[in-house]
Symmetry: C2
Subunit: 655 residues, 2 copies
């Protein structure tokens, strides 16, 4: 027999765990639910399979929910053996689960559950059942996320006033098992910094506990944990790391000072944020943000080259129609999510995933359309947040940035509908919008796009023009102008968030300014390392000192010290320095065009498609070996096909 | 201060209890979930109130869920006292509930929860919070439906083979508290009939229990309960009636033989089916069916004149978009639901209710539209059930009956949109459809509507033509033909279900054939009473004997012996015999036009609007007294205005 797997209706696993995750935020002792609509799993589902038993036998429908089994016309009970005669049978399992979501498992000699079953949410549409590789035994429970755990040993345990301070040496995330004597009443304060752990009034996570509380405290971010109060000295505490066993497929080594540490810092940060879904950061809201996830998808493609977390994240962010609000309430984030589906397909070729989410993608796109203005421009409606970036943008009337991401969303739908075999109503919309963007927002005198034509201020921001470059809205002379007037000029307001900084660095690299991006990596990420960071911070300002670094959003420890968007150097190094880019769907074809920039030597492994590319540079020679066919080496002028398994050496003229 | 009430987002109470109800069916020891999509409450909601505290004080946000309180910019915990200074405060409560639905309660000297709060499901649209009068103390729990209970005493306890049979004298519904000794292992069999209770293999509800099972068995229908097995004689059993304290506003008394018993039987049956929502029957599926509910709404308007159960039922049946399937999977049932909203508004004038469900009504209507054919006809799409009735209809191609209810749904939307102050796009659709129905389905030679123009069979059924009469699709000469050729003729197949029989009786009464309807009441309901019925059966065939009466749907006890649709005589007697009909919205104007038919004497109280009308008949004199103004007496020729509180006597010429 095939491997038996727990099965459920597609998307319900992600929906359920996203719901739990969205309700887990805590702040100052309060439970802090997510501030946008969060989808809930369906209460019931039907599963069907026609099977042939070679001999008489029996099977048990294992479920944590309730329901019944229809074997032909007979009703049978779940969780009890069901006898069947040899022959072909129609089996229908009708399940409901008031707590979690309907799922089942059968593992017998005559029948097993797996993706070959169909699932239905009582809408008369049968689809393939879904499963996750972690759930393949009767004792598993799909409502418990399959994290792994490792006990953590503190690097120091230090007496503090009325208690003890544990230092686990670096940023961690996980549960804490705590044994509290009956006479004790203590306060637990979690700190990403020592200062936070020692400041219960201002720390984000604190709780007061006694022996009657659950001995396992939920997974949280910390480097430090302070235990204080009556009997604190008698409290026993064991912290555990909660993690996913996901492996890196990319690697980087270099003699450049501090650069290996930057890579390790970024990879470590990214792993800590790789959980049920890609998180923005592990301490504070721990919600799933589409803008942050969009960057994580790009980084993940290089670091992990594993579709699982990306697909879970897209599924969770899509939630369920009817859509009443933009994703995370943000207009741009709805567009990113649609673009992400296309980019994920392009990177992986996983059409089955597109099929699974297509109904929701179309519904989200229709929601976006339903809120455009009479010109087809994205505008702010009730409940919308035109975010773009924390920087100063001119957001009066239709905002150029929103039109650019909308244009890319139209184009993504056009490409997706092509692979889905549907009629393309999207390209015409994209083309019409492009024409309107150029007519309404292009300022010939400034040689760049302005944010708003409504305000009359003709304000030019880097953000808008960077996306015009990245999405290829401009070409030729117009592109040259954008680079000159909005990317390389010092005259415009600087981008201050690492979130948008990543896009700026990508644009710099696309414009050939790899060395400038490398300089920034050395100063920004190198600077954080020198400040003692053990994971990448949400933001870093080299002019600040001490605990100034920890403040954000008006709170002394409001800043997350482990933020996924800080892992961008992995993307920059793989895509531009090693220069590995897929050129065909699923990475079946790809180009290797290393741009060492200011580096003199490095060695990288970079995954693409089903293989990996080893790129070693020792100025001026680059050595390339691809494990799979389909690659070409490009030195800026000439393309050289790469045979799988063969090592090639090239001299880079520009270096 | 005002009365404090538990509050929640509108519709969530109904949604939650409908979800529970839909998953409670059991059959042959199996849990049998509902076979259409059932909506689940949102996991989170936000509640807001701006209030002015006259003095310093405190309040506690009581909730069974989790969440937090924003008092201005400060975060506070739920379920703990929150101090406030005198002055005006902005209060926001953010709640989630993974088990039930978010709800809260505040009852302090400075602040209480009630409908003046706003609720939001994080869609940036604030609506008035909802509440139910039963939940007004901190110890209440809106996730527990507020039934009342009364202990039941068996009329006999009789030894049976290996156990005991309890007879509770008449049909009941409720939980059973059972005490089972440690050495016992018993089977509990519920029977609406003695035969069912004594036939564990074929009874619908049976369960095997030991002392480790919960001592309170869930609410179920029964007249008999058999306890058998080892130690059965030592089992203690206490059954309780579970009911709603809803009072009858209509009453009937007459010297006609058996007629008072018919009324009592109908009223008792209707009460047993009046629960969270109007059920079809209390034994078998106990799901909420829109077609059955539509009749219950009509009966309820006369028997209770209380909007609460109707509004809960409509809300539950509407569920939540996106609609992927017709209501109960049945095309006609979606239409009935829309028609029900209009008829409920017309009967009560409760615009606030229409406002509350309007978004869902429109979404359901749009779903109906999305499945029409190119001519605007309702047709069978994947997953649809063109039900109409169990009788033989010609269902090839578009079915006339479906077009008639669709026409009425269009007209209901037109009327609803008018009271909602929206533009009417519906009347034109109704008019166009009427024209097409007359062109496609009217058969001049047969002088009636045919079921199908596709099949070429020109099949005429009573069902289709009855609805053409009831909804006023035909007038004048065409109406006369329909009455003659499809209602009064014996040549067409008889209607065999009590479900549709009610519509036939209504149509007979509308056509002036009250005596014929009365004859049917006497034979059908009277017949059941003579068979010993203690509540109205799902169906009754006088040619059957003994336990033949209990079989249905291929199962020996498949028939429900307590079915709401059997309570129709209440409607017939109030609307036609007493002749009380509202003529204006909310019953502000009404007409009293008694039609005693074959009855010689009766006395009835019939509610209308905010009052009631007492109609007493002693041939040939009818005495009428209305407690409210707005009424007219109509003797078939002349209208006489009725002053409130004044008693009028008229001589009925026809009697």
């Amino acid at each position: 027999m095939k491997q038996a797997k727990w099965i459920w209706y597609p998307g319900e696993f992600e929906c359920f765990h996203h719901m739990l995750l969205s309700m887990r935020r805590q702040e100052k002792g309060c439970d802090y639910p997510c501030v946008w609509p969060v989808a809930r799993p369906e209460v019931s589902a039907r599963f069907q399979k026609t099977f042939t038993a070679e001999r008489d036998g029996s099977f048990t429908v294992v479920t944590h929910g309730k329901g019944m089994v229809r074997l032909g016309n007979a009703l049978r009970r779940v969780n009890e053996p069901i006898a069947v005669k040899a022959g072909t049978h129609e089996l229908v399992v009708e399940l409901f689960d008031l707590q979690t979501f309907p799922s089942l498992f059968i593992d017998s000699g005559i029948l097993t559950t797996d993706e070959s079953w169909t699932a239905e949410r009582y809408d008369a549409k049968q689809v393939s059942a879904a499963c996750e590789p972690a759930f393949c035994s009767a004792s598993d429970d799909p409502s418990v996320f399959p994290f792994r755990y490792r006990e953590l040993t503190p690097v120091s345990v230090e007496p503090i006033e009325n208690g003890v301070l544990y230092d686990f040496g670096q940023e961690q995330f996980g549960p804490v098992d705590i044994t509290i004597p009956a006479y004790a009443s203590i306060t637990l304060v979690y700190g990403e910094s020592r200062e936070e752990a020692l400041d219960p009034d201002n720390a984000i996570i604190r709780e007061t506990l006694s022996s009657s509380d659950a001995p396992t405290r939920p997974g949280r971010a910390f480097r430090y944990i302070a235990v204080s109060g009556d009997g604190a000295e008698d409290v026993r505490l064991q912290a555990r790391l909660e993690y996913l066993p996901i492996e890196d497929k990319a690697s980087f080594e270099s003699d450049e000072p501090g650069l290996n540490d930057v890579w390790a810092l970024c990879a470590r940060t990214f792993h800590l944020n790789t959980r049920e879904f890609f998180l923005d950061g592990i301490k504070r809201d721990r919600w799933v943000w589409s803008g942050d996830a969009y960057q994580s998808f790009m980084i993940s493609r290089y670091l992990y080259n594993d579709p699982s977390v990306t697909e879970r994240t897209i599924t969770a962010l899509l939630g369920k129609p009817p859509y009443r609000r933009h994703v995370n309430t943000i207009n741009d984030y709805s567009a990113y999510l649609i673009i992400s589906v296309w980019e994920h397909y392009e990177a992986t070729g996983r059409l089955a995933f597109v099929r699974r989410v297509w109904e929701n993608v179309r519904a989200l796109y229709d929601f976006i359309l339903s809120r455009l203005d009479e010109n087809g421009f994205a505008v702010r409606r009730d409940g919308d947040w035109i975010f773009v970036d924390w920087g100063v943008l001119d957001k009066e009337g239709p905002v150029c940035f929103e039109q650019i991401v909308l244009w890319q969303a139209h184009r993504s739908m056009a490409r997706l509908c092509e692979v889905m075999g549907e009629d393309d109503v999207y390209t015409a919309r994209a083309d019409a919008l492009k024409e309107k963007i150029l007519r309404s927002f292009w300022d010939e005198e400034k040689g760049a796009f302005i944010d708003s034509f409504t305000s009359g201020r003709r304000f030019v921001t880097r953000q808008t023009n960077i996306f015009a470059l990245l999405y290829g809205l401009v070409q030729g002379e117009q592109k040259r102008k954008v680079i000159e007037n909005a990317l390389l000029t010092p005259d415009l307001p600087a981008i201050t968030t690492p979130y948008f900084k990543l896009y700026e660095l990508l644009a710099l690299c696309e414009a050939g300014e790899v060395a400038a991006a490398q300089d920034y990596v050395a100063s920004y990420w190198g600077g954080m390392l020198r400040e003692g960071a053990t994971s990448v911070w949400e933001a870093y300002d080299p002019t600040q000192t001490g605990s100034e670094h920890y403040a954000m959003y008006g709170s002394p420890y409001g800043k997350s010290l482990c933020h996924a968007w800080g892992s961008g150097p992995i993307l920059l190094l793989c895509r531009y320095v090693a220069g590995v880019k897929p050129t065909g769907v699923g990475g079946k074809t790809f180009r290797v065009a290393p741009a060492p920039g200011s580096y003199r030597a490095f060695s990288m492994a970079v995954p693409v498609g089903d293989g990996n590319i080893v790129v070693t540079y020792d100025a001026p020679t680059v050595t390339v070996c691809a494990s799979v066919p389909g690659g070409v080496f490009f030195d800026g002028k000439t393309e050289t096909p790469l045979k799988a398994g063969k090592t090639y050496s090239f001299t880079l003229s520009g270096s």
